[in-house]
């Protein structure tokens, strides 16, 4: 546990989050309220699920550019199964997650056994998944989903929708998986030096493929919850924008693009940092058009600060 706290502090994301929150409390009206904190938590829940998978993939030294398109595919599939086919909720959820796992299996198999670099594989499968979702949906948005499906993510418990509790559970599981299990150790070893890990007798192929399966399954779950949250199923959900937001969150949280280094808590802070920035910009009533530029500017500052800090250390 102490080790985790130390790595988190070292990555600097906790410090940055506290600084940003302080800035928000001092300068942004209505930021410092229990209600607003709850809003930030609610908005962070779904990205927190997705960032977990991306963190694992980045830790292997790979990348998953198809993540956002898995979200779109899961959204389309959920809507189709629940509304058009009228499948029961349990089956819809299970099938969506299975679909995600299947995509991850394909990604992982191409990367591991066909030796195509992850960047290219997931760039390619991203195109394919987007095409498939568009073909299935025929360009339509499915709205007004069955209430029984909406209940999965929207039921209110003590002021928070169930999706927040699902996210908390998943993050806790992910924390254990990465920092407390044999799989997590193997993941780190593989990311640092895949050859050495292989020669040490680790089942590197299985670890590598399983990582992509987990990442895509989590992305599918994120897509499912996102669909429930906005009550609309469509292929354009997620996409490249979502993928890059998740990668940014992971990197702001201290995960290395070169493998071996990453922490669940760091990535979680990464998501919170992005959402706090978003929240402040919303509260300050800054025009939506300024939003992208301001958010980009702040993230760049955060990364540069972190670079300079780690260089001085």
């Amino acid at each position: 546990m102490r080790g985790i706290i130390q790595t988190t502090l070292k990555s600097g994301s906790a410090v940055i989050l506290v600084l940003l929150a302080l800035v928000g409390i001092v300068f942004v009206r209505n930021f410092a309220s229990v209600d607003n904190a709850a809003v930030i938590v609610r908005q962070s829940a779904i990205p927190a699920i997705a960032v977990l998978g991306m963190t694992m993939v980045l830790m292997t030294g790979g990348i998953d550019l198809s993540l956002g398109f898995v979200v779109g595919l899961a959204s389309t599939a959920t809507g189709f199964m629940a509304k058009v086919w009228g499948l029961p909720v349990g089956l819809t959820v299970a099938a969506t997650l299975l679909l995600g796992a299947l995509v991850g299996l394909v990604n992982g198999a191409i990367i591991q056994y066909m030796k195509v670099p992850s960047f290219i594989t997931t760039l390619g499968t991203g195109y394919i998944l987007y095409g498939i979702s568009q073909l299935v949906s025929a360009g339509n948005v499915i709205t007004r989903l069955p209430p029984s499906l909406l209940a999965v993510g929207r039921t209110d418990l003590l002021g928070f929708p169930t999706s927040v509790y699902i996210a908390v559970g998943i993050v806790a599981l992910g924390w254990f998986l990465i920092h407390g299990s044999v799989f997590g150790r193997a993941l780190c070893a593989f990311g640092f030096n895949s050859r050495a890990a292989f020669l040490s007798g680790l089942p590197t192929a299985r670890v590598n493929v399983l990582t992509y399966v987990l990442c895509s399954s989590l992305a599918a779950l994120a897509g499912l919850l996102l669909t429930i949250r906005v009550n609309a199923a469509q292929p354009n959900m997620g996409g490249g924008v979502f993928t890059f937001e998740i990668i940014t969150a992971a990197i702001v949280g201290g995960t290395s693009l070169f493998g071996g280094v990453g922490s669940v808590i760091g990535s979680l802070f990464g998501v919170l940092i992005i959402k706090v920035i978003e929240n402040c910009i919303n509260l300050m009533n800054i025009s939506y058009h300024l939003y992208l530029a301001v958010q980009g500017g702040i993230i760049l500052t955060v990364i540069v600060m972190d670079k300079i800090r780690s260089r001085a250390a």
Binding site: I111, V116, S118, L123, G124, G131, L135, N208, H289, A293
Partner: protein
């Protein structure tokens, strides 16, 4: 050796595919349609010229999505204010080079990973393009500007000529100047290049600035073709440009890849989309096919190379 065989195989496959497409699709191999394919591929092709150099030095430039919107927005707004066309275009190009230089500075001086720097710079550029005109598109440009995108010179579309010129500049820099040699060397082994006393930081600055330059030309050409600048028009071109480089055999492991081949990659994507259009295949299906081609090409042509360099 393996590489040369791969390249010959690649070209043969390309010719075979073209011939097959010509036989199957009635109007594909007509001169007018081929020129049109080149015109439709010109945006991606021009972007790929700069992207090739960036990927060769082990970088990536994700900012082109934003720059393809920002640069023509700068030019377009100036033009609508009555500023002479040439000056407006130059201003747009300067914006692209400036953003590219910023990318280079972050990568070279602060050691920020290119992936994240260019991603964020792209986001900022996109944001600026939105702010400049409150998120609205602009259009109705002077005829001579629209001519760049839609006119032709000696029977050849100006877009095609522009692609040729940009490809020529790219080939000249990478293959016929000392800078080109250094770019490939830098992608091969940065430490050695530094020890040789070569100005690595300057080289990186140049490559990112050049990529920004290419993105600005691509963006301005796109807006001239459409006679419109939409503030988020760059998004679809980012992944296509990277895909063009990848299909053209530019190695993400750095140090390898030819500008001409990346442009050929862009033409392949353009041809695939064109053939499927002519066959009346649903446009949604094009994405599925392009994705499959990306994976298969890298699997097929780069097999031996990637086995060696990517230790997964």
């Amino acid at each position: 050796m393996g590489q040369r065989v791969g390249r010959i195989l690649f070209s043969l496959l390309g010719v075979a595919a073209l011939a097959a497409a010509g036989l199957l699709v009635p109007h594909f191999l007509t001169p007018a349609n081929l020129l049109n394919v080149v015109r439709q591929s010109s945006i991606i092709g021009i972007g790929a010229v700069g992207m090739t150099m960036v990927i060769v030095i082990l970088g990536i430039d994700l900012s082109i999505a934003g720059l393809i919107a920002l640069c023509p927005m700068v030019s377009g707004l100036l033009m609508l204010q009555g500023v002479p066309i040439v000056i407006s275009i130059v201003a747009g190009i300067i914006a692209g080079i400036g953003m590219g230089l910023f990318n280079g500075l972050m990568v070279a001086k602060l050691d920020v990973p290119p992936f994240i720097t260019t991603l964020v710079v792209g986001q900022v550029s996109q944001g600026l393009a939105l702010i400049m005109n409150n998120g609205r598109s602009i259009g109705g440009f002077p005829a001579s500007y629209v001519h760049i995108g839609n006119g032709s010179f000696l029977g050849i579309p100006v877009s095609d000529l522009l692609l040729l010129v940009m490809m020529g500049i790219g080939i000249f820099i990478t293959q016929f100047t000392p800078t080109g040699n250094r770019i490939y060397a830098l992608g091969g082994n940065e430490t050695v290049v530094r020890q040789e006393g070569i100005n690595v930081d300057g080289l990186k600055l140049f490559v990112y600035a050049f990529s920004g330059f290419c993105a600005s030309i691509a963006g301005i050409l796109l807006s001239a073709q459409l006679d419109t600048v939409h503030p988020i028009q760059g998004d679809p071109y980012l992944l296509d440009t990277i895909a063009a480089c990848v299909i053209g055999g530019v190695s993400l492991a750095g140090g390898e890849g030819r500008v001409a081949m990346a442009v050929a990659g862009a033409l392949i994507i353009g041809s695939v989309r064109n053939v499927l259009d002519l066959l009346g295949v649903h446009p949604f299906f094009q994405n599925v096919l392009v994705g499959t081609i990306i994976i298969l090409v890298v699997f097929g042509s780069g097999l031996s190379r990637y086995r060696r360099t990517v230790p997964v």
